[in-house]
């Protein structure tokens, strides 16, 4: 294991921002920590970097306990949320900073700066002023600066947070390709699930300083560990239910469940694709409360009588109008029994 956290705990006053976190990252792995703001994900990075002392637990890098090792001797890279480029230095000097700190020769520095600026798609930008860069360019320079000293672990704090959507979607693909080619070990944190799923080999969902779930993007998406993770991923059809052999009792009535689902009082997730619209005289009777255009489909918000709202995914043409009366039928294949 390249990085291992063992019971890492950080308290700010009474509150545990990191609460006995165990996490392991193998070499060449790209791990993305996903969580709402205040879940402790940035503190996790700072603890690994040595910028935030642990109250208890250990950070182990390459088998060596990092207790007492100051930040500048840990050999990890950290790309800050708002980049934190040095304003009084030009692009080249920013990228060369870490190399200089490690005592590399001027020649080596110049070669490496050129190599990295080519790598991040800013060839020849070495003499430009940092203040004159666009947000996307700053992000690239920050990445080049973090990569320059070849850290054994690269950490990214909301790497694409401040960029606009189209740029973000393009850069996340570029980043993944780049890390794959370089074989970089990466620990990134983000609150954006799309970013996490696109970037990571493994996603770690955090809640209140604890790890709520860890797994491949597909695993996490298909089988959220609990109601919190499901809601955080954007699923709204989450209810308490009594699960029997073939069907579950829910506020929406009897809902079929997949074969072999665990039984008893459980949390049930119904994906929007599993909510089929049928004529109003069959199935659960609902009123269309709102509809949101989502590009490939329309999300239809349905209000049943005496039950929580349901979200359904509809083909563009088949979507009903607001105020229409419709019936609802459930598809067992799109229903997940959690925990």
């Amino acid at each position: 294991m390249l990085l291992a956290l063992r019971g890492a705990t950080v308290r700010f006053g009474e509150r545990a921002v990191l609460d006995a976190v165990d996490l392991e990252i193998a070499e060449h792995e790209i791990v993305c920590v996903l969580g709402p703001s205040g879940s402790g994900k940035s503190t996790l990075l700072r603890a690994v970097a040595g910028l935030q002392p642990l109250d208890s637990g250990r950070v182990v890098l390459d088998g060596r306990d990092q207790a007492g090792v100051p930040a500048h001797k840990r050999g990890v890279g950290l790309m800050f949320q708002d980049h934190q480029l040095f304003p009084q230095r030009d692009v080249g000097a920013n990228v060369a900073f870490g190399l200089r700190m490690h005592g590399e020769s001027k020649r080596q520095q110049a070669d490496r700066v050129k190599e990295l600026l080519d790598l991040v798609g800013l060839p020849g930008a070495g003499r430009r002023a940092v203040a004159a860069l666009s947000g996307g360019e700053q992000q690239r320079v920050a990445l080049a600066r973090a990569l320059a000293p070849s850290p054994r672990l690269l950490m990214l704090d909301e790497p694409l947070g401040q960029l606009d959507r189209s740029l973000r979607e393009r850069l996340v693909v570029e980043l993944r390709e780049l890390f794959g080619r370089l074989g970089t070990t990466v620990l990134a944190v983000t609150h954006d699930q799309g970013e996490a799923f696109a970037l990571a080999d493994r996603v770690v969902v955090m809640r209140d300083g604890r790890i709520a779930q860890s797994g491949s993007p597909l695993q996490v998406w298909q089988r959220p560990a609990d109601a919190f993770v499901a809601r955080f991923l954007g699923f709204e059809n989450v209810v308490e239910a009594t699960v029997g052999a073939q069907a579950a009792d829910t506020p929406w009535g009897k809902v079929p469940v997949p074969e072999g689902a665990p039984q008893g009082t459980r949390t049930l997730l119904v994906r929007p694709a599993g909510v089929h619209l049928v004529p109003a005289d069959s199935g659960l009777r609902c009123t269309v409360a709102a509809r949101t255009f989502r590009g490939t489909h329309v999300a239809v918000h349905l209000q049943p009588e005496d039950a929580p709202r349901l979200e359904a995914a509809c083909a563009l043409r088949a979507a009903p109008e607001v105020g229409d009366e419709v019936g609802v039928d459930f598809d067992a294949a799109e229903i997940v029994v959690l925990n």
Partner: protein
């Protein structure tokens, strides 16, 4: 180390004053305070000091607030130059200001020649000189903040149905009020402790506490009355400073600030043009004219006669040609600048440490004290405390730079502190993660950002020490006068030649200070500082 510096060179002299004033034959006589206060001339001085400070402050605000608005919100050609011009008076030595106004409104002055108007024995000369002096304080403190207030705040109020005046009153004025209060208190403080201006323009009739302390010490030799007066002033200044610290803290409440360069625009319409014109005329008449007259008077004798007279031995009164004062001033100023920058930087760094405790934060206010406690107090304190064992520095040249540094340190701290505080902690962390040791982090991240502020601070300390009069006049040795001391001595003697030489020497001093300031203006990027 800064603490030790202040203990020895500030706290100890002040304690000595207290002892001198209230202790006789080894016992304390607190009744002395009452006795001194009961004297009618002392009460007169107190009353005059207070009311002239009030009126000066009010006048300065009335004259300078439109200026603050114009500088904050309008673009016009020559704005940068004009901003520097406006600031020149603030760094000018009080002696120069006094002399300039003497040339304008005094006997044989410009107004006297044109219309036979003389103001030099009236209080108006003092008030005008105070406005001249403090115009920049208001323009910089209030205007600096005003320029950074987001105009969209006012626009938001307009969209919610407020008239332009109402929007200004409801949105901008509350945001500005603490800055106006802080500036007003600063002006009040400076005018309350005014020395050089009153000394030169006040004549025998008008006397502030500072002037009275000086008179009691050097003319009447009543040290214990002087000590009591110093204590009274000390208490008053302490109260003003506490009030100032409080308003400044209130000013720090979160305001939406934007880059000053985006809020200004060209004046539109007759009203705004008239306002701009009015401010320009005010600046020309009030700030530029006195200095121009000073220069013109100094050239009054044919062939630079007054300037050439400066280089000659003029028999007895000076032990050296007055021109040597330039060299003295410069060498003292260099020494004082070094001391002030070293002490001030150490103090500023100590104050920005994140683990700074209550004690250190209290020290922040303490550092401001010498600024307001008045130069005369410092000089008087040095005179009575550092002339005998354990510390006998009376015959050492270092005494003058030490006193001047004491006055300069608050400027250094005030300039460095905001910059040091503004260095983003995460910038340091970024350097640290890239492999920089703590010392390296300071050198690579903090120093490049602070370097400019350090130069500005040094410039301020230099200008302050060049023009320092109140403390220096007590302790400068007769054979080594500084420029301001030499000017004051020349003015104290009758005859046109002496008068002309004073004008010439003042002009030289003004030039040196103006050059120092123009260099500073070029270095300065942000205009939000206190001064």
């Amino acid at each position: 180390m800064p603490v030790a510096f202040f203990a020895v060179f500030f706290a100890y002299p002040v304690a000595a004053i207290v002892a001198r004033g209230l202790k006789a034959d080894g016992t304390w006589h607190l009744g002395r305070i009452g006795e001194v206060l009961a004297q009618s001339d002392v009460r007169h001085v107190l009353w005059f000091t207070t009311w002239q400070a009030f009126v000066s402050t009010a006048l300065t605000l009335i004259v300078a607030l439109p200026g603050a608005y114009v500088f904050a919100r309008f673009h016009f050609p020559g704005k940068q130059v004009l901003r520097a011009v406006v600031t020149v008076p603030f760094v000018l030595p009080t002696v120069v200001v006094g002399t300039a106004f003497l040339a304008l409104v005094g006997r044989g002055g410009l107004l006297d020649e044109l219309w036979g108007v003389r103001l030099d024995t009236t209080v108006w000369a003092i008030l005008l000189a105070h406005v001249f002096f403090n115009y920049a304080v208001v323009v910089r403190t209030v205007g600096g903040l005003w320029a950074q207030l987001d105009p969209r705040q006012e626009e938001a109020a307009r969209m919610l149905g407020a008239s332009p005046l109402r929007a200004w009153r409801q949105v901008t004025l509350p945001a500005l009020a603490p800055a106006v209060a802080a500036a007003a208190l600063m002006v009040f403080l400076f005018t309350f402790t005014s020395f050089g201006v009153v000394q030169i323009l006040g004549g025998p009739t008008f006397s502030t506490l500072e002037v009275e302390i000086y008179r009691q010490t050097s003319e009447i030799f009543d040290l214990s009355t002087a000590a009591v007066l110093t204590l009274i002033q000390f208490v008053a200044v302490g109260a003003i400073l506490a009030l100032h610290a409080w308003t400044v803290r209130r000013r720090e409440t979160a305001l939406r600030l934007v880059d000053a360069s985006v809020t200004a625009r060209r004046p539109r319409g007759a009203g705004q043009r008239a306002l701009l014109g009015g401010v320009l005329v005010t600046v020309a008449v009030l700030l530029v004219l006195p200095l121009a007259v000073l220069v013109q008077r100094s050239l009054g004798a044919p062939g630079f006669g007054y300037y050439r007279a400066l280089t000659s031995e003029d028999g007895g009164f000076f032990l050296v040609p007055p021109i040597e004062a330039i060299g003295n001033s410069l060498s003292y100023a260099v020494a004082a600048t070094i001391i002030a920058v070293v002490i001030g930087s150490l103090a500023a760094v100590a104050l920005t440490r994140r683990d700074a405790g209550r004690f250190v934060r209290g020290f922040d206010a303490l550092l401001m004290l010498p600024l307001g406690v008045s130069a005369v107090t410092v000089g008087f304190g040095f005179l009575i405390s550092l002339d005998e064992p354990p510390l006998d520095l009376r015959s050492s040249w270092i005494l003058v730079p030490l006193a001047q540094a004491l006055v300069g340190v608050p400027f250094v701290v005030r300039t460095m502190l905001p910059v040091l505080r503004a260095v983003d902690v995460r910038l340091r962390e970024a350097a640290s993660v890239l492999g920089a040791s703590p010392w390296r982090v300071w050198r690579e991240v903090d120093l490049p950002i602070v370097r400019r502020a350090l130069l500005i601070a040094a410039g301020f300390a230099f200008a302050v020490s060049l023009g320092e009069f109140g403390a220096t006049v007590f302790i400068a040795r007769p054979d080594r006068p500084t420029l301001p001391v030499a000017v004051a001595r020349l003015l104290g003697r009758p005859g046109d030649l002496n008068y002309g030489q004073a004008m010439a020497l003042s002009t030289i001093l003004m030039m040196v200070c103006a050059v120092a300031l123009l260099v500073l203006e070029r270095l300065r990027t942000d205009r939000t500082g206190e001064f």
